[in-house]
């Protein structure tokens, strides 16, 4: 394992410290317990947005703290959801009195820890609503499992709910927008290589030189099935088909197409995937009105990508376009 780290145990602390220093105009970093807040949090009168989860998915979530998006991000250990004693003070810091929305990816650990924190925050007089993100169509039979995972769609929920909070929506309205995004987005991912969790010291799974994992999550877990390597167009089709049929995309739909890199794949390859996905969508008669291509929700240095499609309406498009100023997503400001 070769990584630009000093010690597996200090990876998150040091990385978040560096992040805080590089973006000291945008964020403040609290160190014990560790969490990141918007420099000007809490923003008077505004609903607070808090998200968090295991580390290793950078820029998610700290990279999305700032005007128009999150008020606080809570990083856990690598691939391990944070604990209530981190989430609670982050929630308090984000609360201006208008209440706080927790954006939680649907993993048992995240759900349980945020649940406890929400309970504790309510106990301290903060109104909390939780938006559960579960956009991963790779998880089948979700009735008989922990349900679908939250993956790429999380970024879109954070951006759009963030814009709703920024324009002054109240607590229920912000949560409702977040849920609307979640119910209109689907994602599926592929891994060409595994990633190596620093404390584990070896790849999270073993994959032959001619195999890929289809339907991976973002924690280096193996995917739903393993197939021989294919070309970019073939892989794109495999990811996109379940996304489009689950979402029920039909001719005339307006969509946002998000091709996300898992961390170790060159941007140039993401654009090759984008090209094919846009082609397929055009063939279906759907209009790609907005797009996002890059490494936004990653699995350390994993090679691969995920494709998310969000069905847009005028309000969601407007909120997507609204100004945002974070370390990783910025426009209009």
């Amino acid at each position: 394992m070769k990584k630009l780290i000093n010690d597996p145990k200090s990876v998150v602390d040091e990385s978040v410290q560096g992040f805080g220093q590089a973006h000291s105009d945008l964020v403040s970093v609290n160190s014990d317990p560790i969490f990141v807040t918007r420099k000007d949090a809490p923003v008077s009168g505004k609903v607070g947005l808090v998200s968090g989860g295991g580390s290793g998915h950078e820029p998610l979530h700290a990279g999305f703290v700032g005007k128009g998006m999150l008020d606080a991000a809570v990083p856990g250990a690598v691939f391990t959801s944070p604990t209530p004693d981190q989430i609670l003070p982050a929630t308090l810091a984000a609360n201006s009195g208008a209440g706080v929305v927790h954006i939680v990816k649907n993993y048992t650990g995240d759900v349980l820890n945020f649940e406890t924190a929400a309970e504790l925050a309510e106990g301290e007089g903060v109104n909390v609503r939780t938006v559960l993100v579960n956009d991963d169509v790779a998880v089948e039979d979700s009735l008989y499992t922990a349900g679908r995972r939250g993956v790429g769609g999380t970024v879109l929920v954070e951006k759009i709910a963030g814009a709703a909070a920024e324009r002054g929506d109240d607590l229920d309205a912000v949560a409702a927008i977040g849920e609307r995004v979640n119910s209109n987005v689907r994602t599926m991912g592929v891994a060409l290589t595994a990633c190596t969790v620093p404390h584990a010291g070896k790849p999270s799974f073993d994959l032959a030189e001619d195999e890929i994992e289809i339907g991976i999550g973002i924690h280096g877990e193996p995917g739903r099935h393993r197939i021989p390597m294919e070309n970019a167009d073939g892989i794109t089709d495999r990811l996109l088909e379940p996304v489009l049929s689950d979402l029920g995309v039909t001719s005339g739909d307006k969509v946002l197409l998000f091709v996300n890199g898992m961390g170790g794949t060159p941007l140039s390859e993401l654009y090759i995937v984008y090209r094919r996905a846009a082609q397929v969508l055009a063939d279906r008669g759907a209009a790609v009105e907005r797009s996002l291509v890059g490494n936004y929700i990653t699995s350390l240095e994993m090679q691969g990508c995920s494709i998310s499609v969000l069905r847009l309406d005028d309000e969601l498009t407007g909120l997507w376009d609204a100004p945002v100023h974070t370390a990783a997503l910025r426009w209009g400001l």
């Binding site: 391990t80 650990g109 922990a146």
Partner: protein
Amino acid sequence: MVLDVTWTVKWLTLCAQAMAEHRVELIELDRAIGDSDHGENMDRGFQAVLDKLSESPPETPGAALKLTAMTLMSKVGGAAGPLYGTAFLRAATSLGDAAEIDPAAWAGALTAARDGIVARGKAELGDKTMVDAWTPAAEAAGKAAGNGSTDPLTVLVAAAEAAEAGAVATDPLVARKGRASYLGERSAGHRDPGAASTALLLRAAVKAAA
């Protein structure tokens, strides 16, 4: 042998030792069907428990378990943190202020722990989670205590052996809860890491009494 606070602290110390010793093994189990962190999480959590225990030595077994619960909640994270946190908290509550744990109390504590895990995690027996270790352990302890055994060791051993068997029995199962459930059929053929750590914790209870 009396299961007093001294035994409890010894047990928790041996838990920490077991998590450190089996850290890599638990990471490996989690690597196969999860995200490679279970051993790291448990090790970090129980090292913190050791610190807490020496910072503010508890006066009763229940207090020791409550301290453990709070520490695991705030240091472990992931699924295991809240689940083990809840388990130890419920066990602590079930023990109350008692200075000693008799066989029935141990069985009661394990049952409370198990119920807490189920209440939090909504997993059923056979879902390939730590519930598959806690359930037979609680039942075996109840049975051993019900048999009128007054030697705590018998109950501890019964629970540990049942947990170990329960963990082994997760091998062929297809996971329906937790991260391994995303793998579907591919989760079969691997031991559940949480069930494995449960067995280690309950085995440590035996060692603490030996």
